[in-house]
Structures are given as structure tokens and as C-alpha cells.
Amino acid sequence: MIAWTGRKTVEGLEFAAAVLDLGLRAFRELFSPARRGRGEVFRVVTRQILFTGVDALPVVGAIALMLGLIIIIQAGTTLPQVGAGAFLAKIIELTVVHELGPLLTAFIVIWRSGTAICTELGNMQVGQEIAALDAMGISLIRFLVMPRVAGVIVAMVCLTIYFDLIAIVGGFLVAKIHLTIPIQVYLAEIEEVLSASDILITVIKSVLFGFTIAVICCHHGLSVVGATTEVPQQTTWAMLNTVTACLVLDIIVSVGFYL
């Protein structure tokens, strides 16, 4: 039991070190002034933003609308019963803007794009495409990892803001069928409780989540050695590890923000 715990701890630390190393190299490459492959890298970044961000708008919008509707109906009907109707906007701010917006967007990005990144890189390993890029002198960090990290971060920030807007406004408009609060009053309350720090915390979380998702999924994709059967295994691990990492980061940021 002790040996097993020790082995798992060492494996966990090795994994964390490898992911951190990959992340740092990608981060350094992001700000590298090198001209090499700029056009090609930009093409990959654009494609990643399109796939992770633009293509995900319908699913993110639908989930945000449903979540906003549920929270607004629940809070809008329950809070007045206990004399706390004035806290509706505060509840929205805390649940949607602080927590569920960034977190659920991260989960959607993990399910759609994280798995796609891991599978794509894994299949590239199996097909020797990664080896071919390396043989051509094309930096894997610059050509494969960094553009995905940059693309996912940009898409995550935009999607999270989009999620929050749809959940707050769209959710209310649908809930209006059931509620009696005028929209002007609701929006004024939201405007009152929302501060710059709320926007900042959302952006910080989405940047951290985007970075984590892209780096962990790239790490797992590039960890495929040679068999196609490894690709789904690594994808499963990538999903588990990114969800765990995002939850841990969410706790750290939230605790840090309130302390």
C-alpha cells in the first residue's frame, strides 16, 4: 500500500513536471520574436480559434440559456418567498459569472476541443507525422503546441463572456414567461452588482482553464508512442486530468479571490 502510494505520488509529480515544462515552453514560444513559420503558425491559431470558439457557439449558447433559465427561475421564485428577492442579481453574479460560466465553458471546451486535440496529436504520432515534422526541423512546440494553446485561450475567454451574457440576459428573457420582474429592474440590479473585479476573475479563470486544457491535452496526445489503441486511452486520461486540474484551479482562484 505504501509502495503503491509512493509510486502514484511520483507518477503524479512526474506528470505535473512534464505538463508544466510543456506549458512553459509553449508560453515562451508564444512571446518569441522569431520569424520562423509565423504564417503557418498563425494559420493553425486561426483554425483552432474557429474550431474551439466559433464552432462551439451553438452548444455553449444552448447550455448557457438552459442554465440561466434554471438559476433565474429557481432564484426568482424562491428568494422572494424568504424575503430575499433583492439578492437575485447577486446570486446570478456569484453562480454564473464567478463559478459556472468559466467552469461549464471549460467542460464544454474539454469535451469538444480537448479530446479533438489529444486525438489529433495521438493519430499524428501513430502516422509518424510528428516524427516527419521533427525531421523537417519544424519545432513541435512552435508549430503544434503553442498555436493550440493560444487558440484555446482566446476561444475560452470569448466563449466564457458569451456564456455569461446568454445565461444572464437570455435566461432572464425566457424566465420572464414565469417571473414578474421587469427587465429594466433586473438589468439595473445586475449592472449594480457586477464590478470590474468580476470581469477580471472570469477572464483570469478562462485564461488559466484554456491554458491548462490545451497543454494537458497536447501532453497526452504527444505521449502516444506508436499504437492506435493508445489514442483513446490517452484521450480518456486527458479528459480526467483536465477536469481535475480545472476544478483545482477554480478552487484556488476562488479561495484566493475571497481571502
Binding site: G127, Q128, E129, M136, G137, I138, S139
Partner: protein, 244 residues
């Protein structure tokens, strides 16, 4: 004798914890065409990757174009690899790019040529390799032989000093083999590239080579001109060339 571009000195190397190459030494000179000849699992693929600087030896020294890949920094390695074209046994074309974009990739990544010049160079290589008709196709739509020719065009597009081709016969029919032989001969006449290829069966292509390096079980059996190889008094060589 011209300058040495590849030197392997008492090199041993392993793959997945298994020693596949043991104590091999040879030198390849600029402009020379060398075939690494041996049956499957003779270690010739690993030797080829050592020659291209894609693998580090477990012991011994490898020098490629004056650099020691085992001690080079990442930047030095990337620079070295621009001067070495490599064709893998699998075509290894990037699956989400057309054939044209695959061949253009090294030029777009490493150079600042305008797109018109890139187009010109890529089309010239595709035509030379006989796959210009497939330039707008995706790699998955190609037959193995055509995909390998496209991979050859990609390896040649940067005009490398050394061209390495793994399993040169793989996926080629008789016509394609003749075409490949002509491509390599024309390519050698046009410039000064060194060619190193692995071959696992007797073929007319061997006659286009300057020297054969015969390998068995990861060891060097002999190195000689193609005409002399079938005459060697070695059981492996005699079985390979069908004289036994």
C-alpha cells in the same frame, strides 16, 4: 576524396530498450549515394536515422555535416534538419493538408520566399516526382506509392545536403521503381546531394548507388561498390543476392 558529411564511429544504438545496432563505423562523403542493405530487422532503419541525426547513439560518435546531433542544442538540431531531407517508411504526410501544402510546408516554415516562388518550387518538385496531378488531393486519397513520391518531393524541396530515404522500395511497382531511379539520378546530376537509402531486397536501384553497406543483426558485414557485393564470400550476402 571529398569531404565527409556523415561519420559513424563505433556506434551502438538501441530502440525500446533493445540494442539494434552494435559497433558500426563508416563514413559517407559529399555527393556519394549509399545504400544500407539488409533484411528486415537488420537495424538499417535505425542506422539511417542515426545518419540523419534523428537518433542519438547509446555509445560511439555520430557526426552529420560537422555537427554532433547528440550534443547539439534544440536550435542547432532544427538548423541541421533543414539540411537533411528524410523520407520515412510510412509517407508521414500531414493528414489535414493537401499534397501541395505538405510539400510547401518546409518552405513556408523556414524561408521568407514569396508565395509565387514557393508555388514554383513546389510544382517543380511535384512534377519531378510525378505526383503533380495529385497536388490538390489529401494524403488519405493517395496510393502508397504516390504518397511516398509526394513525401520524397517534400524531402527534396529544401534542396538538402543529405537525402535519406527509408525502405526505398516500399509501395513501388516496377514502373515507379524506374521512375524513382531516374528521379534520384537526375537529382544527383542537378546538385551535390548525398543520398543514403535503406533497401531490403535486391533491386536494379542498387546499381545507381556508389556504395553498398551491408548489415546483418545490427552489425556491419561489408561495404563495397554494387558490382562487387554479389561476389562477397559471406552467407548473408549470398542469400540476399540470390547466389546461394
Amino acid at each position: 576524396m571529398s569531404e565527409a558529411v556523415i561519420t559513424l564511429d563505433r556506434v551502438s544504438a538501441s530502440e525500446r530498450d533493445q540494442t539494434l545496432v552494435e559497433d558500426i563505423s563508416f563514413t559517407v562523403h559529399r555527393g556519394e549515394a549509399v545504400a544500407l542493405v539488409g533484411s528486415n530487422a537488420s537495424g538499417k532503419g535505425l542506422v539511417l536515422r542515426l545518419c540523419a541525426g534523428l537518433e542519438a547513439p547509446a555509445s560511439g560518435t555520430v557526426r552529420v555535416l560537422g555537427a554532433d546531433p547528440a550534443r547539439a542544442t534544440e536550435e542547432q538540431l532544427l538548423a541541421l534538419r533543414q539540411r537533411v531531407g528524410f523520407v520515412f517508411a510510412k509517407p508521414a504526410l500531414i493528414s489535414n493538408m493537401t499534397v501541395f501544402n505538405n510539400v510547401a510546408l518546409p518552405l513556408r516554415y523556414h524561408t521568407v520566399f514569396p508565395e509565387t516562388e514557393i508555388r514554383e518550387r513546389v510544382l517543380a518538385r511535384l512534377t519531378e516526382c510525378g505526383v503533380d496531378a495529385f497536388r490538390d488531393r489529401m494524403p488519405a486519397d493517395l496510393m502508397l506509392g504516390d504518397a511516398r513520391q509526394a513525401a520524397l518531393a517534400r524531402a527534396m524541396v529544401m534542396d538538402p545536403d543529405i537525402l535519406c530515404v527509408d525502405e526505398v522500395l516500399l509501395g513501388l511497382d516496377a514502373d515507379e521503381l524506374v521512375r524513382l531511379r531516374k528521379i534520384l539520378e537526375r537529382y544527383r546530376r542537378a546538385g551535390r546531394p548525398t543520398i543514403v537509402a535503406t533497401v531490403n531486397a535486391p533491386t536494379s536501384l542498387l546499381r545507381a548507388m556508389d556504395r553498398l553497406i551491408l548489415l546483418q543483426d545490427g552489425r556491419l558485414v561489408a561495404a563495397c561498390p554494387p558490382a562487387e557485393a554479389p561476389l562477397l564470400d559471406d552467407p548473408m550476402v549470398q542469400v540476399f543476392f540470390g547466389s546461394q
